[in-house]
C-alpha cells in the first residue's frame, strides 16, 4: 500500500463531469435532414436578399394581358393572383418584409423581454419587482390601440412597425421566460455553481440558459409566425407597408378573401403558397434548433 495519498480536497473536486471531450460539428452526426433544413433556410434568405437580381416579373404590377387567378404552371411558376400578379415573385419579395418584421420583432422582444426576465427571476427582490411591474404595465395596455396610435402618428416605415411590435411583444416573452427561469433558478446545480463562486452572468449563461433554451426557441418561433401574420393584418388595415408591396402576411390576408368565393372569385393558391412558405421555414428552423441543441446537450447523456 505504498500509493501516494492525494489530499481529499483535490480529489473531491475532480468529478467526472469536469472535463468532457469537446465535440465537433460533423456532417455525419447531424444527419442529412438537418442539412436539408439549413439549405432551405439559406435559400429563402438568399432569394429575399437578391430578389432584385432574379429574373422575376414585377411583383407589384400584374400583366393584364396574362391570366387572372391562374394555378401553378410554366408561365407563372406558382400562378397569379386576382390582380394578375405573379405569386412566386410576390412570395420572394414578400419574404423581405416578413423576415424583417418576424425576426426583427422577435429578436427585439427577446432582448427587451428575455434578458430582463432571466435577470429578474434569478435575482428576485427589488429588481424583480421593478421589472415585473414594468412588464405588467406594457402587457396590460391593449397592443392594438398602441399600434394604431403610434403608427398613425409616427408613420409606418418597416423599422418602426418592427420596433413597435417588438416592444409590445416583450412583456409576453418576459412573463414566459421569467417563469421558466424561476423553475431552474433554485435548482441544486445552480446553487452549487454559486457556491463555487461562479459569477451571476456565468451562471445565467452556462447553467440556466441551456435549460430554458427549448422554451426560448419554441416561444420565439411562435412569435415569429404570429408577428408575420400580424404584420399582414396591419398592412391590410393600412397600418404597415402599403399595398401593393407584398408581404407573406398581406398575401395571406388577400388570399383569405379569395378562399370562399365571397368576392365572386376563388383562388386557394394565394393562401396555400405563403402559408406553406411560412410552415416550411418554421419547421426547418425548429429542426435545426432541435438538432443543434441535442448535439451539444450534455444532460441527455445522463441517466
Amino acid at each position: 500500500m505504498s500509493d501516494q495519498i492525494t489530499p481529499p480536497a483535490i480529489a473531491a473536486t475532480a468529478t467526472a463531469a469536469a472535463d468532457e471531450p469537446e465535440e465537433e460539428l460533423t456532417t455525419k452526426s447531424l444527419g442529412l435532414f438537418f442539412w436539408i433544413c439549413v439549405g432551405w433556410i439559406t435559400l429563402v434568405i438568399v432569394m429575399a436578399l437578391i430578389a432584385d437580381l432574379l429574373p422575376l416579373p414585377d411583383p407589384n404590377i400584374g400583366n393584364f394581358n396574362g391570366s387572372q387567378n391562374a394555378g401553378p404552371g410554366w408561365g407563372h411558376l406558382l400562378g397569379t393572383d386576382d390582380l394578375y400578379r405573379d405569386i412566386f415573385s410576390r412570395l420572394i419579395f414578400g419574404a423581405r418584409v416578413s423576415l424583417v418584421v418576424g425576426f426583427g420583432g422577435t429578436g427585439l422582444g427577446l432582448i427587451l423581454g428575455g434578458i430582463p426576465a432571466m435577470v429578474s427571476a434569478y435575482r428576485r427582490g427589488r429588481v424583480d419587482t421593478l421589472l415585473n411591474t414594468t412588464s405588467y404595465v406594457v402587457l396590460a395596455f391593449p397592443a392594438i390601440v398602441a399600434v394604431i396610435a403610434i403608427v398613425t402618428f409616427w408613420g409606418h416605415a418597416l423599422w418602426k412597425i418592427t420596433l413597435v411590435i417588438g416592444i409590445a411583444g416583450a412583456p409576453l416573452i418576459f412573463r414566459v421566460i421569467r417563469a421558466s427561469t424561476l423553475s431552474y433558478a433554485t435548482r441544486d446545480f445552480v446553487l452549487a455553481a454559486k457556491a463555487l463562486g461562479a459569477s451571476d452572468r456565468r451562471i445565467l449563461a452556462r447553467e440556466i440558459l441551456p435549460n430554458i433554451m427549448p422554451t426560448v426557441v419554441s416561444f420565439g418561433l411562435i412569435a415569429v409566425a404570429t408577428i408575420i401574420v400580424l404584420e399582414g393584418s396591419l398592412s391590410f388595415l393600412g397600418l404597415s407597408v402599403s399595398p401593393p408591396t407584398p408581404s407573406w402576411g398581406n398575401m395571406l390576408n388577400e388570399g383569405s378573401s379569395l378562399l370562399t368565393g365571397a368576392k365572386g372569385q376563388t383562388n386557394p393558391w394565394l393562401v396555400i403558397f405563403p402559408a406553406s412558405a411560412m410552415f416550411l421555414l418554421l419547421f426547418s428552423l425548429n429542426v435545426v434548433a432541435d438538432k443543434l441543441r441535442s448535439h451539444f446537450d450534455v444532460t441527455e447523456i445522463k441517466l
Partner: protein
C-alpha cells in the same frame, strides 16, 4: 397570504395608474377628433368651438385626465360621443362575448394540448411527436382569418352544423343558440393557443421525464399513467401557466379578427369601432377595464405556478 394580497393590490394600483395615463394620452394621438365625427358636415369653426367646450376638450390635457379619472373613481366611465350609450353599458354588453370565447377556446385548447403533449413527450422525436409538431406549425401558418372563413363555409354554409355569422345571442336569452354560436369561433381561437401550450408543455415534460425522480418513481412500480399525471405534469407546468396567463390576457379585446368575421360585437370589435369613431371616452373606458382584467388574470396564473411548484414559492 394577507401580505401577498396586499402587495398585489398595491401593484395593481400602480399598474392601473400608468395604464390609465398612457391610454389617455395615446388616445389623443389618434388621427381625427370626436368633434368632427359628431358634427359631420355641420362642422363650422363656431360649432366646433362650442362642442369642444361642451365636451371639455378645450381644457389642458392633464386637467381632462383628472376629470376623467375622478369620474372613474365614482364608477362613471362616461358615455359615447356618438351613440350616447354609457361606456359601462357598452362594456357590459360586449365583455360577456370575450369571456365566453376565452373560456370556450381555452377549454378546447387545454383538452387538446395536454394529451397531445403527454403522448409526444413519451417518445421525443417519435412518430407521434413529429406529426404533432408539424401539425402545430401548420396551425401557426394558417391564422384565424384564413381558418375562420373556411370553417364558416364548410360548417355553416354547406353542412349547416353551426350557425353562420351574426347569430350570436346573449347567454341569458337562449342558452343553446348562444353556445352553438360560440363554438365555431372558439375552435378557431383555440388553434393559436394549442400551438403555444403544446410546444411549451412538451418541452418541459421531456426535460422532466429525464429527471432522476422520474426513474425513482418508475422503480417504485407506478404505472406510466400515474407517473405522467402525478409526478411529471406539475413540475413541468410553470412555463405553461405563465403562457396561459399572457395568452388569455391577449385574447381579452384581442379576438377582433374572429369577431369581425363572425359579426360578434365583443370588446375588441367595440374598441376598434370606437377608435375609428374617435370616441375617446369609450376607448379609454375599455382600455382601462381590459388592463385590469389582463393584470388580474396574470396575477392569478403567477400565483398558480407558485402553488404548482413549491420550489418557486420559497423566495
Amino acid at each position: 397570504m394577507g401580505r401577498y394580497i396586499a402587495k398585489r393590490v398595491v401593484l395593481l394600483i400602480i399598474i392601473i395608474f400608468f395604464v390609465s395615463v398612457a391610454s389617455f394620452f395615446l388616445v389623443h394621438l389618434l388621427p381625427g377628433n370626436p368633434v368632427d365625427t359628431i358634427l359631420g358636415p355641420n362642422a363650422t369653426p363656431a360649432n366646433t368651438l362650442i362642442v369642444n367646450h361642451e365636451l371639455g376638450l378645450d381644457k389642458p390635457l392633464w386637467e381632462q385626465y383628472f376629470i376623467w379619472i375622478s369620474h372613474v373613481f365614482q364608477g362613471n366611465l362616461g358615455q359615447s360621443y356618438t351613440t350616447h350609450q354609457t361606456t359601462s353599458n357598452i362594456i357590459g354588453q360586449s365583455f360577456p362575448i370575450d369571456v365566453e370565447l376565452i373560456i370556450g377556446s381555452q377549454l378546447l385548447a387545454f383538452a387538446v394540448a395536454f394529451p397531445m403533449a403527454m403522448s409526444a413527450s413519451r417518445r421525443p422525436n417519435g412518430l407521434f411527436d413529429q406529426v404533432a409538431n408539424s401539425t402545430t406549425f401548420g396551425m401557426l401558418a394558417l391564422p384565424p382569418f384564413v381558418i375562420a372563413p373556411v370553417l364558416v363555409l364548410l360548417f355553416a354554409v354547406h353542412w349547416h352544423v353551426f350557425p353562420g355569422p351574426a347569430s350570436y345571442v346573449p347567454l341569458t336569452q337562449n342558452l343553446w343558440t348562444n353556445l352553438h354560436a360560440i363554438l365555431l369561433p372558439s375552435i378557431v381561437l383555440a388553434m393559436g393557443s394549442i400551438v403555444v401550450y403544446f410546444r411549451l408543455l412538451r418541452n418541459d415534460l421531456i426535460a422532466t421525464l429525464q429527471e432522476d425522480f422520474i426513474t425513482m418513481a418508475r422503480s417504485k412500480g407506478l404505472t406510466d399513467r400515474r407517473i405522467m399525471w402525478r409526478h411529471a405534469l406539475r413540475p413541468s407546468s410553470v412555463s405553461l401557466l405563465a403562457s396561459a396567463g399572457v395568452t388569455i390576457g391577449s385574447l381579452i379585446a384581442g379576438t377582433f379578427v374572429v369577431e369581425l368575421l363572425l359579426q360578434m360585437p365583443g370588446l375588441g370589435y367595440q374598441l376598434i369601432f370606437s377608435v375609428n369613431q374617435d370616441d375617446y371616452t369609450v376607448v379609454q373606458g375599455i382600455t382601462l377595464v381590459v388592463a385590469v382584467a389582463i393584470v388580474l388574470i396574470n396575477f392569478l396564473f403567477d400565483f398558480l405556478f407558485t402553488v404548482v411548484d413549491p420550489r418557486i414559492a420559497r423566495e
